[in-house]
C-alpha cells in the first residue's frame, strides 16, 4: 500500500514558495546570516531550530520585512521582496510577545488587519467571527487582551495573524510563554489549524521537541548557517553532524579511527585493546580518518551477560542511574573511562529491577543502530 506522502521538496517540478538565494545579513561586524540558500514550499510547516543567536529570528524577520538582507535575494512566490515594505507583504507574523494591542478588544484586534485591507464591513464581521470560531475564542470577543489567560492570548494572536489569509504565516516562538502541558496541547492545535487553512507556516523555536512535533521539515541552524534540513525522523535517525545529533535528543558520541571492512561497513577503533565498533553507513570515509559514532541511548540494550551473536557488545560498570518513571537511564563506564548512556524501559516494578550501582553489565547494539559522522 502506498501512502501519498507530503514531500514537495523531493519533487523537482514543484515551485518553492520562498527562496533564500545567497542571503547574508550583517550587523556591523557581526554576521547573523551567512550566505544562506534555502527553499520552502507551499503548505509546509517549516521549523527553524537552533540556540539563541543562531540567526533563526533574523531569517524570520527578513521574511516579514523588518530586516533587509545585506547581500542576496529573498523571493516569495517568485517575487523579489527587497523593495516591498512589511505592510504590503502577503505575510503575517505571530509575535513572541503576541503583541496584542492592549487598547483594543479581542474582536478589534482580529479586525485590525482586515480594516487596513479596506474590506467591506459585513465581510470583516464574517471573517472575524470565522477566526474566533477557528480558535474557539467567540465568547471572549469583547474582552481586552489583559482580561484573558495566556493560552487564550496566544490563540487571539494566531487568529489575528491568520485573519488576512496570508500566503505565509511566521510564528516566533509561539508557545514559549505557555506552560508545558498547555504547550503540548497547543502544538496539536497549531498543526490542525495549519492543515485546515492550508497556510504555509514557518516557525522559529529553540525547543527541539516542539520542532519535531509540529514540523514537516526541520532546519537546524548554528552561527547563521543551516546545518541540516530534513524531516523530523530523518533528522533524528540520520543526523549529518555531531552538532545536529547532539542538538536533537540525547546521544552518545564515541570518537575513533575508521577502517573500511566492506562496501558500506566500517570498523571504528575507539580504544586500545577493545573490539572496534562495527557499523554500517553511507558516509564515505578514508582509511584511518577520524570519525564519530553517534549512538542514541534507547538503541543500546543492557544485559547481565554477553548476548549471543551481538554485533557490538562491550562490558562496563554502572556508575549512575537516572530514574524517570517510564524509563531509566544508565550511565555506564566503559574500559578506558568512556561514559555511555543506555536507556531501558521499566517494564517491571522497581523492586524487581535487576541492575544497581557498581554492577558489571554488557551493552550491545546492532550494526545499523549508530550513525557514523565525519564531523
Amino acid at each position: 500500500m502506498t501512502v501519498d506522502v507530503f514531500a514537495p521538496w523531493e519533487d523537482p517540478t514543484e515551485k518553492p514558495l520562498i527562496q533564500f538565494k545567497g542571503v547574508t545579513k550583517r550587523y556591523g561586524s557581526f554576521t547573523a546570516i551567512d550566505n544562506l540558500t534555502q527553499d520552502i514550499y507551499t503548505r509546509e510547516f517549516f521549523a527553524l531550530l537552533g540556540p539563541s543567536g543562531c540567526g533563526k529570528t533574523t531569517m524570520m524577520r527578513m521574511l516579514a520585512g523588518f530586516e533587509t538582507p545585506t547581500e542576496g535575494q529573498i523571493l516569495i512566490a517568485g517575487q523579489d521582496m527587497a523593495a516591498v515594505p512589511p505592510n504590503e507583504r502577503a505575510v503575517n507574523m505571530m509575535f513572541q510577545s503576541y503583541a496584542l494591542f492592549p487598547h483594543l478588544s479581542i474582536w478589534d484586534n482580529i479586525a485590525f488587519g482586515l480594516r487596513r485591507m479596506k474590506m467591506p464591513k459585513a465581510q470583516i464581521e464574517e471573517r472575524v467571527e470565522e477566526m474566533l470560531r477557528l480558535t474557539r475564542m467567540t465568547q471572549f470577543a469583547r474582552r481586552k487582551p489583559h482580561q484573558v489567560s495566556g493560552g487564550q492570548r496566544q490563540r487571539v494572536a494566531l487568529a489575528r495573524s491568520l485573519a488576512r489569509a496570508p500566503k505565509l504565516l511566521l510564528l516566533d516562538e509561539p508557545l514559549g510563554a505557555l506552560d508545558k502541558k498547555l504547550r503540548e496541547e497547543t502544538q496539536f492545535e497549531l498543526m490542525d489549524i495549519q492543515e485546515k487553512t492550508g497556510t504555509t507556516f514557518v516557525i522559529v523555536t529553540h525547543d527541539q521537541e516542539e520542532a519535531m512535533t509540529v514540523a514537516s521539515r526541520v532546519a537546524v541552524m548554528d552561527h547563521g548557517k543551516i546545518i541540516q534540513v530534513a524531516t523530523p525522523p530523518k533528522i533524528y535517525e540520520e543526523p549529518n553532524s555531531v552538532y545536529v545529533a547532539d542538538f536533537i535528543g540525547d546521544v552518545n558520541i564515541i570518537e575513533g579511527a575508521a577502517h573500511k571492512t566492506s562496501e558500506d561497513g566500517y570498523d571504528i577503533h575507539w580504544a586500545e585493546g577493545q573490539e572496534p565498533i562495527h557499523a554500517k553507513t553511507t558516509t564515505v570515509l578514508s582509511e584511518g580518518q577520524k570519525a564519530f559514532v553517534a549512538l542514541r541511548p534507547e538503541k543500546i540494550s543492557i544485559g547481565e551477560e554477553k548476548p549471543e551473536g551481538a554485533v557490538n557488545a562491550v562490558k562496563g560498570k554502572i556508575i549512575d542511574i537516572g530514574y524517570l518513571g517510564n524509563i531509566s537511564t544508565y550511565h555506564v563506564e566503559l574500559p578506558g573511562g568512556v561514559m555511555v548512556k543506555a536507556q531501558a524501559t521499566n517494564t517491571r516494578r522497581l523492586s524487581r529491577r535487576n541492575f544497581t550501582w557498581e554492577d558489571e553489565v554488557w551493552l550491545s547494539w546492532t550494526l545499523t543502530a549508530a550513525s557514523v559522522l565525519e564531523r
Partner: protein, 270 residues
Amino acid sequence: MKRFTWFNATSLTLGFAFLYLPMIILVIYSFNASKLVTVWAGFSTKWYGELMRNDQMLDAAWVTIKVAVASSTLATILGTMAAYVMVRGGRFMGRTLFSGMIFAPLVMPEVITGLSLFLLFKPIFTQMGAHTIILAHATFAMCYVSVVVSSRLVSFDKSLEEAALDLGCTPFESFRLVTLPIIAPAVISGWLLAFTLSLDDLVIANFTTGPGATTLPMKIWSAVRLGVNPQINALSTLMIGVVTIGVIIASISTKRAALRQKADEQAAAG
C-alpha cells in the same frame, strides 16, 4: 508585610510637616481678616473678594492661561516628536548634539535661558509679548515632555508597532492607531507638566515679555517683593486648591485603573 517602625513614622511625619505646614499656614492666613498677615483677626473671605475685583490680576491670570495652553500644546507636539526620534530614530547625523539639546534645558539656570532667548528675540521681533513667551516656554517645556514620553516609549513593546505594520498599516497609521493610543497617558501627563511649568514660570517670562503681556507670576512677584500680601495669600490658596484636587483625582483614577487591571488579570489567570 512591612509595618511602620517608630523611626520611620517619625521621619515621615516630620518630613511631611516640613513640606506641607508652610502651605497650610498660607491657606489659613488667606482667611485672616487683618491686613497684617501675622496677626490673626478673625475669619474673613474679604481678600478673595478683593482679588476678584482686581482687574489687573484677572487680566494677568487670563494671559497666563492663554500662554500656558498654547505653549504646552506646542511643547507636547514637539516633545513627543523629539522623544520618538530619541527612542526610535536610530542613528542619524548629530544625534549626540540632539540628545544634548534635549537634556541641557532641564538643568539650565532659568536666568541663562531667559537672557539667551531675549537676545535672540530682540532683533527678530519688533515687539515682544505673549507670543515670545509662548515660544520660550514651548522650548524648555518640550524637553520635559520628551523625557516623560520617552520613558514611556522605552518600555513600549516594539513588536506592537511591528505587528501593526505586519497587519497592513503604513508607518504613520501604526503611530496613529497603535503607538499614540498606548502612550496617550504619558503624552497627557507631559502636557500637564508643560502647562504647570508655564503657569509657574517667572524668570523666563520676565526676560521674554513685552508691553501688555504681564503673567500671573510676574504680578505675584511684584506684589510679594514688598512683603507678605493677603491678596496673594488668597490667590495662592486658590492655586493650591486647584492643583491638589487635580492631583488627587488623577492619582485616584490611576489607582483604580491599576486595581481593575489587577483584578482582570487575576480573573483571567484563574
